[in-house]
Every structure is written in structure tokens, then in C-alpha cells.
């Protein structure tokens, strides 16, 4: 019995990690800028498509027709030479193999630019406007972003292979001294979980130990007062928006081997992430992370056949059900502060 529970627990981790990462970014933006960002899922999606672009570039190839050689069908043989391999040799081959993690290098600057441009261009004009209008404008931006991606990459999902070395499963049960083969877990999901843990840890450390982070935290607690100290909080908040975009983008890149990206992946995750944020407590960073993992794991348990036999369809609605119950029983969420967004 323990192994079954433990396995479901593990299964919930990777999805929970993705929820936690997106919810973390949403909360950063909400906590600092006070903006309800419905375009955050689109940032996750844009990050995922960075991986698609990188892979496309890395696998560009020249096709030459060699008239001296014949294919098995008797036609002249097409020789495909991947450019990267042609130029970089073995290192090129490694790059192609590791294209997904390698994409992070592109994702960070791209998402930073996108985030800052969004904040400076549009979001900053909405600080003082009602939350309903913030929701509406970011909702519109999300539609624009996903339609642009759709018109470039088409409507279908584009699978991204994971590096060959990380394709198998890890026998976690054996690591823990249990019988071999009882608890196995795909390595990439483990990688994703560890990656998420590192990113979350880095964000918290950044906010906790740097002067920049200290000012931002103070600003989250009381914007007016920090403004009175003569600190230019707005510029820091712009950077925070960029940072949130980077976190969302990285979450997206690394998730591509688990779920092939398509243009509406952002919207799918956004709805869930908002539920996560609300469950965790609007404006609470630890709440966002805890609720992300909690809901991921609950979802995993709800999709067990035994549970579904007990409560049919529970896997489809568990997250929303939890959200409804939490909102009604603990209106401020698990870790929420009083008075946030209650007007």
C-alpha cells in the first residue's frame, strides 16, 4: 500500500512543480505590481516555444542530391547534413540531443525582454485601474500571444524529445532500499522537479538575501511607505515583472518533453494556476508553492483507478473542488494575508 501511495505522490510532483512555478510568477507580479495577470499562462507558452525554435535552428540541415549514390528505391540519394553537426562535430550532436535544457539560454533573455516590454508598454498603465480592467487587458494580450504563435507554428502540438541519457526511468524504490522495480519514475520528471526546486529556491534566496529583494519585499508589504523613502520602486517592479516572465518561461521550456507544446497550453495552465494562487492565498509566495505541489499531488491521487471507482469523475474536478472549498472555508487561502484583493 505504501508503495502505491508513494508512487502517486511522485506522479503528482512534476505537475505540481509546474503549477508551483507558474503560480510563483503570478504571485510575484500580483504581490509587487498589484496586477492580476491573465497573460501569465501565455508567458509559460512562449517559453515552451523557445524550445521549439531552438530545436528548429539546431536541426536545420542542408539537403544535397548525390547522383552517384542511389537510394533503395532507385532514385538519387538525398544526403541530409545537419548544419550544427557539420560545423561543430560531436559537440553539435550533443547540443541537438540536449536541445531542451540548452534552450534555457535563449529563454532567459527572450522572456526578460518580453516581460519588460509588456510591463513598460502596457501593464504599467493599469496599476491604478480596477482589477477587472487588468484582467481584461491581460486576457486580451494572452489571446494575441497565442494567436501569433498559432499563426507561426500551426495549431498542432510539436513534440520535443528529451535528451537520450534522461529518457529511462529511475528505480526510486531500489534507491530507498525497497524491492527493485516497484517504484519507478521517469528520469525527466525527476529532473523537472529538481529544476523547479532550484528555481524556486533561487527566487526565494534572491528576495531574502539581496538588497534588491529586500526592497521588493518591503514594497510588497507596503508600497506607499517604500515610495516615501525615495526608493524608485517602479523600476524594481519592472524588473520583477521580467523575472516573473523568466520563471514562467523556464517552467515552460523544461515542461516540453512532458507535454508537447501547442498554442493553447498557456491558457490550459493559466486557469489551473489561478486556482493554485487562490488556494495558496493571493500575494503569498510560500502559499503559491505549497498549493502548487498540494494540488498537483491531489490531482495525481484523484486519478487513481481505485479513487475514481469510488467517486466517478473526481480526477476531472478535484482542483476546482478544492478551490471552492478553500475559498469558502478559508477565504484568504492557505497562507493569505488579510485584506488582499477583497474589495
Amino acid at each position: 500500500m505504501f508503495d502505491v501511495i508513494f508512487l502517486q505522490f511522485l506522479n503528482g510532483l512534476d505537475k505540481g512543480a509546474a503549477y508551483a512555478l507558474i503560480a510563483l510568477g503570478l504571485t510575484l507580479v500580483f504581490g509587487t505590481l498589484g496586477v492580476v495577470n491573465f497573460a501569465h499562462g501565455a508567458l509559460f507558452m512562449l517559453g515552451a516555444f523557445c524550445a521549439v525554435v531552438v530545436r528548429k535552428v539546431l536541426t536545420m540541415e542542408t539537403i544535397t542530391v548525390d547522383p552517384n549514390q542511389l537510394s533503395p528505391w532507385g532514385t538519387p540519394l538525398e544526403v541530409r547534413t545537419p548544419l550544427v553537426q557539420a560545423w561543430l562535430g560531436d559537440f553539435g550532436a550533443v547540443l541537438v540531443n540536449y536541445s531542451v535544457p540548452f534552450s534555457i539560454l535563449l529563454t532567459i533573455p527572450v522572456m526578460l525582454v518580453v516581460g519588460i516590454a509588456l510591463e513598460r508598454g502596457i501593464i504599467k498603465h493599469f496599476y491604478r485601474r480596477p482589477h477587472a480592467e487588468q484582467i481584461l487587458v491581460t486576457f486580451g494580450l494572452a489571446i494575441v500571444a497565442q494567436e501569433i504563435i498559432k499563426s507561426i507554428f500551426g495549431p498542432n502540438s510539436i513534440p520535443q524529445p528529451m535528451p537520450t541519457d534522461l529518457r529511462g526511468t529511475a528505480d526510486i524504490g531500489a534507491w530507498l532500499g525497497m524491492q527493485a522495480g516497484v517504484i519507478t519514475y521517469p528520469i525527466w520528471r525527476l529532473v523537472y522537479f529538481l529544476f523547479a526546486a532550484v528555481v524556486i529556491g533561487a527566487v526565494f534566496a534572491f528576495l531574502q538575501f539581496t538588497t534588491f529583494g529586500m526592497v521588493v519585499r518591503a514594497g510588497m508589504a507596503d508600497r506607499e511607505t517604500v515610495g516615501l523613502l525615495g526608493i524608485n520602486i517602479d523600476r524594481r517592479f519592472t524588473i520583477m515583472f521580467g523575472l516573473a516572465a523568466v520563471v514562467a518561461g523556464m517552467a515552460g521550456v523544461m515542461y516540453t518533453p512532458i507535454l508537447p507544446p501547442n498554442y493553447h497550453i498557456g491558457m490550459d495552465f493559466l486557469v489551473l494556476s489561478f486556482v493554485v494562487v487562490v488556494v495558496g492565498g493571493m500575494g503569498s509566495l510560500p502559499g503559491a508553492v505549497a498549493a502548487g505541489f498540494l494540488l498537483g499531488i491531489l490531482q495525481s491521487f484523484a486519478s487513481m483507478t481505485q479513487v475514481k471507482a469510488l467517486v466517478p469523475g473526481i480526477d476531472q474536478i478535484i482542483i476546482y473542488l478544492v478551490a471552492v472549498v478553500i475559498l469558502l472555508v478559508r477565504p484568504r487561502g492557505l497562507f493569505g494575508r488579510r485584506g488582499v484583493m477583497e474589495a
Binding site: 482589477h131 494567436e147 499563426s151 469523475g313 475559498l327 484583493m341 477583497e342
Partner: protein, 379 residues
């Protein structure tokens, strides 16, 4: 009716006239065919109802498609179990969606602001997911609920009415194809608009506006605001149910995608585009979105090439390439952009734009001193 003020009466008369003559004045725009006109009516009703909640009370629901979908399912079930006549189906759909809205509204309205939006979204997504999974016996899952020859139709069989061929909804034995279907829906839109107008101009409507503007003051003024918002929620849920039922009349195949949150988003777009809180705005928003959806998604590269034909070679193909991103499949991109621009520059929607322009014209002749900008010393 007697108590209706003159301006309201004029607005109502004008609206009725405009709706009933749509087959005439929309002909030059290529939109005067029954199928599209019916959708104008249906989504007009949906938007008018949504506006009673969002426009008047300020509570932004992101789950209204759930009531629309429930209305559709209820109407189809009425066709299947009771009668192919549309009247019982309408009544049944309005009651069922109203009850559904009562339950969801009662729970969701315990919170306000973004929490309310998320709660409604969560309920709608739950309904959508369940319609696809556990509720398949009621919704027929992905296939969608449809009418069959073998449906019981207890009311019809009691009256010994028999159906030959594929069953289709009727009104007192008359089929509702073509323009009769349009006039049927138009009648409902006119009634829906009339009721919305009465509600907006009533003390109840003023209380809803009071809740939107300052809920704290409403409490200290002695109002229990909860039943007011709940009433608005249920009314707008019933409007959505009616619209969903009408869609089931024109197309008796109810699918779960009518409940998806993108459908909820669409009615939000319509209301904002036209002007939340105004009477005519949401209807205009619904018409424009449905019209351009129809026009833009039908445009293909061939049409674009003919359109840009007058340009020199090279330039025209470049224009076609660029423009093709915004039409056909890319229609939603255009919609998203227009929506963002509206929210940024004209949060009051088209109606605010109309007001601003009207203001400009009214003012110019009366106060020439203000219309001519004089060099003023900086304040």
C-alpha cells in the same frame, strides 16, 4: 408600459425597429441570411443578460458559458422527453439554468473581486469537465446531445403527433427554418432588451449600480446587498440559459464546448467591446463580434489577392502575406488586438466612443470659445 419615460420608449421603439428590419439593412453588408441573423439575436440576448450582472453590479463572472450550455442541454432534453415544440423547451431551459445559477451564485457571491471571478471560472470548468466525463449519460459526452427518431416525447405522443424523418424543433407545428427562425429569436431579443431596460431603470437597478460604485455605503445605508447581487446573478444566468436554448432550437446538437471558459470569455469581450453598463452596447458588441467573425474567417488568400490587386507586384503579395495573418484562421488575433486596444484607450467600449463624439459635436457650436484652443498660460 404606461409608466415608461419618453426617452426609454424611444430607445425601445428604435431598437425594436432596428432588429426587425435587420434582414433589410444588413443586406448590403452581406449579413442578411437567417443563420447569421439568428446568432446575432442569440448572442445579443447572452450579452444583455451578462451585462445585468457585470455592467450593473461590477461582478465579473468568468463562467457564464456554463449557464448557456445548461440552457442548451435542457432545451434538447425537453425536445427529447416532452415535445418538439419550442415553448416548453424555452420555459424548461430558463428554469433549469436559473436554478443552476441560484446554486452557483449563492456560493460564488460569498466572495467578491477576483475571488468571485475565480470561483465562477472554477464552477464553469467543473461543469465543462463533468459534461465530458461523468455526466455523459446526460450530455452524451464528446458526440453531443442530439435528437433521434426514437426519443419518447411524452407530450407529443399523448397528443398523437407523429414525426416523419429527422425530428426538428417546431413552434405550434410550424418549422422554424429560415427567416421564421430569425423572427422567433428576434422576438426573444426584443423581450429580453425590454426587461433589461426596465430593470436598469428601476429602483432595483439603481441599487445594483450602487453596489458597483460603493458596496460599503450600501451596507451602511441599510441594504442587504447579497440578495440584490444574487438576484442579478440568477437573472443573467436565466438570460444565458434562454440564449443557449435558442441555439439548441436553431441547431439541436448540444455539445460541451458551449460551456468552455473561452465561451465565457467571448461574452465578456462582447460586453466590454460594446460598453459595459449601457443597454445597447453589449448587443452591438455581440453583433460586431459575430459579424466580423463571420466575415473575417471567410476571407482567404484569393480574396485578399483580388483586394490588393491595385498595388504594384511584390508589394501586393507582401500585403497579402501580412493581411492573411489577421483573417481566416487568424481572426482571433484581430479580435485580441481590437480588444486590447479597446480596454486601453476606450474602457467604456463603443458606446463611450459614441458619447465622446456626440459630445464633441454638441459642444462645438455652443461654446466656440472652448472649441478654438487659445494659447493659455500654463497653470
Amino acid at each position: 408600459m404606461a409608466a415608461m419615460p419618453r426617452n426609454d420608449l424611444l430607445l425601445f421603439a428604435g431598437f425594436t425597429l432596428a432588429v426587425l428590419t435587420m434582414p433589410i439593412w444588413l443586406a448590403p453588408f452581406g449579413a442578411a441570411y437567417p443563420d447569421l441573423l439568428q446568432r446575432f439575436m442569440i448572442f445579443g440576448i447572452f450579452a444583455v443578460g451578462f451585462n445585468i450582472l457585470f455592467g450593473l453590479t461590477g461582478y465579473l463572472s468568468f463562467g457564464h458559458a456554463a449557464f448557456f450550455g445548461v440552457g442548451s442541454y435542457a432545451a434538447v432534453w425537453s425536445f427529447k422527453l416532452l415535445s418538439l415544440d419550442v415553448i416548453p423547451a424555452m420555459i424548461f431551459a430558463i428554469i433549469v439554468s436559473g436554478l443552476f445559477a441560484l446554486v452557483i451564485g449563492y456560493i460564488s457571491l460569498r466572495r467578491s473581486g477576483i475571488y468571485f471571478s475565480i470561483l465562477t471560472l472554477a464552477f464553469a470548468q467543473m461543469s465543462y469537465n463533468m459534461a465530458y466525463s461523468v455526466l455523459t449519460p446526460i450530455t452524451n459526452g464528446e458526440t453531443g446531445l442530439q435528437l433521434t427518431q426514437s426519443d419518447p416525447r411524452h407530450l407529443d405522443s399523448a397528443l398523437a403527433a407523429t414525426v416523419v424523418g429527422q425530428p426538428i424543433p417546431t413552434l405550434l407545428g410550424q418549422s422554424l427554418g429560415g427567416f421564421s427562425g430569425f423572427y422567433f429569436c428576434a422576438g426573444f431579443l426584443i423581450i429580453a432588451f425590454f426587461l433589461a431596460q426596465r430593470i436598469t431603470g428601476s429602483p432595483f437597478g439603481m441599487m445594483l449600480k450602487g453596489i458597483k460604485t460603493n458596496q460599503t455605503r450600501m451596507h451602511y445605508t441599510g441594504f442587504n446587498t447579497k440578495p440584490y447581487t444574487l438576484a442579478a446573478f440568477v437573472i443573467s444566468g436565466m438570460y444565458a440559459g434562454l440564449a443557449g436554448a435558442l441555439l439548441a432550437v436553431t441547431d439541436p446538437l448540444a455539445g460541451a464546448e458551449r460551456m468552455q471558459w473561452t465561451a465565457s470569455g467571448e461574452v465578456v469581450l462582447m460586453t466590454i467591446l460594446g460598453g459595459a453598463g449601457t443597454l445597447v452596447g453589449p448587443v452591438i458588441g455581440a453583433w460586431l463580434i459575430k459579424y466580423f467573425e463571420n466575415i473575417f474567417s471567410a476571407i482567404n488568400d484569393g480574396i485578399l489577392r483580388r483586394f490588393f490587386d491595385f498595388l504594384p507586384d511584390g508589394v501586393d503579395s507582401a500585403m497579402v502575406t501580412v493581411a492573411s495573418k489577421f483573417v481566416g484562421e487568424g481572426w482571433f488575433l484581430t479580435l485580441g488586438l481590437v480588444f486590447v486596444i479597446i480596454v486601453i484607450f476606450l474602457p467604456g467600449g463603443i458606446m463611450e466612443g459614441v458619447r465622446r463624439i456626440a459630445h464633441l459635436f454638441n459642444r462645438a457650436p455652443k461654446a466656440p470659445g472652448k472649441a478654438n484652443p487659445q494659447p493659455q498660460p500654463a497653470e
